[in-house]
Amino acid sequence: MVLDLTKTWVASQRLASSEIGSEAVVLNLVDGKYYGLNDMASRVWRELQHPRTVHQIAATLAAEYEVSEDQARLDVVQLITELHNRQLIEAAP
């Protein structure tokens, strides 16, 4: 799927998530699948608790992780595509 970069994304309602130390853990309540997110993915996940665009998240990561905004955008697109494929995020209304 090619991600629409103009859309705003937010964590799905039909899941439970928490933070254990610096790692986010997520349970999809629809299929019962469990995910542990690494440090950067957990940071993105925290952003996605509120509606965010790819560009907004990439700008935050670029500032915090000292990477270029282009590199951050590539990473965010990849992660958001994966989260969307696993029904962990949805397009915000």
Binding site: S18, I20, G21, L27, Y34
Partner: protein, 308 residues
């Protein structure tokens, strides 16, 4: 859902009061009170039109509009109200009450309590001087043997098979189940010298119940250590702190959940697992598979649990 009954027995198990219209000999009776679970025993099976929600080798769970049916093929079935407050035990012809009580106490009630919102795990637990040590792990990893060994040394047993937690102020409490551990013959031989002196847990299965000479904790005990037993790759005992997502993954694999398709029950179970994971009391434990070294392993666990 329940039929009226003139006689009833009240018990406390897993931190809950239950009332039954037949005695349950494994449990100590308590004064009458408002029960969390009411149990009725009937002899006839009931057929329902239902949606299958899970199917395992030994149990199938299906859902009707007001109830769940838990079926143990050829042995018994249990009808459970959706809120988990009422249970009807249906015995199949030829199934002994011993077997049905085992299924009720060790399999159905844990699922029922999950339905009521409790955090329920498959494992064993003992009360050490520093607090409750919980042992979780796949079948055959030595959970019950370890708990039995500690109990044989005079540390009160809290539970074997089903561990129920509750949050009380800022403490996580481990609730007592009922006296006894279920052991394979070789473990019983090691712990008590004679396998044959102990009753089978249920007909046709090799495990036996070891209850005599074991102290049992009458009250809940604050959690001190949560150990995940894993196979030992070396002959040495290892205890490693578990952090992050792995802790929750192990916990979810060990939880009792009646209806994994019910988002509310799944969410509550997840919240229970993450609240334990956040305590920082979770460790991976590997012990040598050698009865001759069990005392040494238990001693190290005892000292580890006593450290801050």
């Amino acid at each position: 859902m329940l039929r009226p009954s003139l006689t009833s027995w009240t018990y406390q198990v897993y931190g809950k009061h239950i009332v039954s219209d037949k005695p349950i000999s494994e449990l100590a009776s308590t004064p009458s009170c408002d029960p969390s679970v009411s149990i009725v025993w009937v002899s006839e099976a009931v057929l329902h039109s239902a949606d299958l929600v899970r199917q395992l080798d030994w149990i199938s769970v299906s859902r009707q509009s007001e109830t769940y049916s838990l079926t143990y093929p050829g042995l018994a079935s249990f009808t459970v109200s959706r809120d988990g407050r009422q249970v009807i035990c249906h015995s199949s012809e030829g199934t002994s009450e011993l077997t049905i009580r085992h299924l009720l106490l060790d399999q159905v009630l844990p699922l029922v309590l999950s339905r009521q919102g409790a955090s329920v795990f498959h494992g064993s637990a003992v009360a050490l001087p520093s607090g409750a040590a919980v042992f979780i792990g796949k079948s055959g990893q030595g959970k019950s043997t370890l708990a039995g060994f500690f109990a044989r040394q005079g540390f009160p047993l809290l539970a074997d098979d089903c561990i129920v937690f509750s949050q009380h102020a800022d403490q996580l409490l481990v609730h007592p189940a009922y006296p006894g551990v279920r052991l394979w013959g070789d473990s019983l031989d090691f712990l008590d010298g004679s396998e044959a002196d102990h009753p089978f847990v249920m007909e046709g299965r090799p495990k036996r119940r070891f209850a005599a000479a074991l102290q049992f904790a009458p009250d809940p005990v604050p959690l001190r250590r949560f150990y995940f037993l894993t196979p030992s790759a070396t002959p040495e005992m290892r205890i490693e702190k578990l952090i992050g997502a792995d802790v929750v993954r192990h916990m979810l694999e060990s939880q009792f959940v009646l209806d994994p398709q019910d988002e509310k029950e799944l969410r509550t179970s997840f919240e229970g697992a993450t609240s334990i994971a956040r305590t920082g009391l979770c460790y991976r434990l590997s012990i040598p598979r050698d009865y001759a070294r069990l005392a040494e392993s238990a001693d190290q666990i005892l000292r580890h649990a006593a450290t801050p």
